[in-house]
Symmetry: C2
Subunit: 356 residues, 2 copies
């Protein structure tokens, strides 16, 4: 049985919502769970779930109560006495706090007690701990975060979504390799189309990094299905499966997507309050709006994969509640079962004449 | 009377929609217009408007016919025999095509026949022509594009929205100066709050450029109201008035905002087709959705200002129709009347001890 190690102390709603999401995932996906964190607090939450169940308002829907028979689920606790806080410098923190929940969750995968990590705390700490504890895949200079986004057609992968603020063209080439492997093996896209996020279609557009990356991908079109530059306006049109960019641009792009949709939903809500007719319209439109909200909500996608390390780390949104954590566990499970990491290593071994 | 020179040949719907927008603006804002482009084509469009009026579907609303008495409007034509196409290299094109509509529109401002330029064609050509024909404001290394975006509260300014793909911290400092002056004088924000677009709040976050810009703005807090980093998720929350970034990131951010909202509106439309109840909901919700669509639509804002040149150039969306052109003329008129360029020069003169 696949076992997922979860940093029970990471995230704005830890440990309550993290433990709840873990239990929910164990029940829904038939995975085993290793909860890493402060034992008494985790036990308290498990007791609570045993007695009261979970109350969840997933995907913007009304509160729902779910009960579980914990005796039928495979959940173990690995005690961790320390916690890395959001503000701490990641590299320093993981060296200093060797008994922290994120470091021990990574250790659990390194020593094969679990198969993957789910972490909703400091992204930097999760990355540093994974890099240090699991090591890099040969041929990958820097791990990157791959985020799956909804579009009008198939979901797309944006890589890097925030791991590396300063990048080289070689790094972006490697992101393209990792994104392609992910899209193919986890999302089931046969020949993923790769685009470079840019401010125009022509090869000469954009900053130095985008221009050099375009050239490098064009030279390697026998290995990767590079289709050219893609503008921000088009990324949701579904004309591309993997979007490559540096982690600074990728992170800004993701958060702006989030900010735009949240503003639009709030504006709609406001409009639906302006007069009695508006209220009626709002009432009728509500279920349809919720359906869309679910489609685009990060909770549905659950988490982003850190690709390029020898192991699987799923990074969840800091504000993840139980539902998002449950889905992050699903992402981790799929990544384990499809062996995306091994596939990346194989791809690079098969094409290492490029770097030679 | 303020006169606006318009590149009648620039944009996807030129000259028809550009001429229509110009006439509309002359009538609505009481400005004089100088249409620069192929004389016969402009005359043909003016005749058409004289006889038939303008049919417009502004802001997603139903077609509306507007009639004008052209004899009461101050519209002159300045013939230009050449046109710079979208694909041409801007610098080369403006040197080669001295009789092009964009070059002659800039000339009209340089020789004071008009007060500002509105251009919906190649952004690169409009920038190059303005820089070459009008010159830079002393103390500004590179002009930048300032775009006004709607938020839940006041509109915000994003600068640079695409003029400079590779930037230095000094350039971003100057963008902050220009954005502040614009926000204060054109948008009426008394003490504009400046944020650096970044991927986290802390000073140490982001790429090298963002980190160095943070430091530089922090050191100059006596001159500018710098409030720190701002994440993509927050830009629409209204906690900040001026958002500073390099033109690559700014352009990606803008286009993603556009892409996200267009996807959401399309998703809503799809949902409202799923069953009879949905259709009714859609019918009732339509006017409310349209009101929001208008709020966030670029047509409403009309155009972005090129700041940092000694003159006013408003850059319109390439797909501008009459309504967007009309609003771009409004932006140009406001910029002329508030003298934003002179204010930028004054600010820099007043604080030039910084660069010393």
């Amino acid at each position: 049985m696949t076992r997922i190690a979860i940093d029970a102390m990471g995230g704005d709603y830890a440990p309550r919502e993290v433990v709840a999401g873990a239990v929910w995932a164990a029940s829904e996906y038939g995975v085993a769970i290793e909860l890493v964190g402060k034992q008494d607090r985790i036990e308290y939450e498990l007791d609570r779930i045993r007695n009261e169940g979970i109350i969840t308002s997933a995907g913007g829907f009304k509160d729902k109560k779910i009960k579980f028979d914990l005796s039928k689920l495979d959940i173990k606790i690995t005690p961790a006495t320390e916690v890395i806080e959001m503000g701490e410098a990641p590299g320093q923190a993981i060296r200093k706090k060797k008994k922290s929940s994120i470091v021990l969750a990574v250790d659990a995968v390194a020593n094969e007690s679990s198969d993957a990590i789910v972490a909703a705390g400091s992204t930097g700490a999760a990355m540093a701990a994974s890099l240090f504890g699991l090591g890099r895949i040969p041929g990958i200079d820097r791990p990157a975060i791959a985020v799956t986004l909804p579009t009008m057609k198939n979901p797309i992968v944006v890589i890097d979504a925030g791991a590396n603020s300063n990048c080289t063209p070689d790094m972006l080439y490697q992101f393209a390799v990792m994104g392609t492997t992910f899209s193919k093996n986890v999302l089931g896209i046969e020949v993923p189309r790769i685009g470079v996020l840019n401010i125009g279609e022509e090869a000469g557009k954009g900053n130095e990094l985008a221009q050099a990356t375009y050239k490098l991908l064009e030279e390697n079109q026998d290995k990767l299905n590079f289709i050219g530059n893609i503008e921000g306006r088009e990324i949701f049109s579904g004309i591309c499966d993997v979007i490559v960019c540096d982690g600074f641009v990728g992170n800004v792009a993701l958060k702006i997507t989030e900010g735009t949709s949240s503003m639009l939903f709030r504006m709609l809500k406001q409009e639906f309050k302006t007069d009695p007719l508006a209220r009626i319209a709002g009432l009728i439109a509500k279920p349809f709006m919720k359906r869309i909200y679910r489609k685009i909500n990060y909770e549905e996608f659950g988490g982003a994969l850190l690709l390029g390390v020898k192991g699987i780390t799923v990074i969840s949104h800091g504000s993840s509640k139980a539902y998002a954590i449950k889905n992050a566990v699903r992402v981790a499970k799929e990544a384990v079962e499809t062996g995306v990491n091994k596939k990346i290593a194989e791809f690079l071994e098969g094409t290492n004449e490029r770097s030679a």
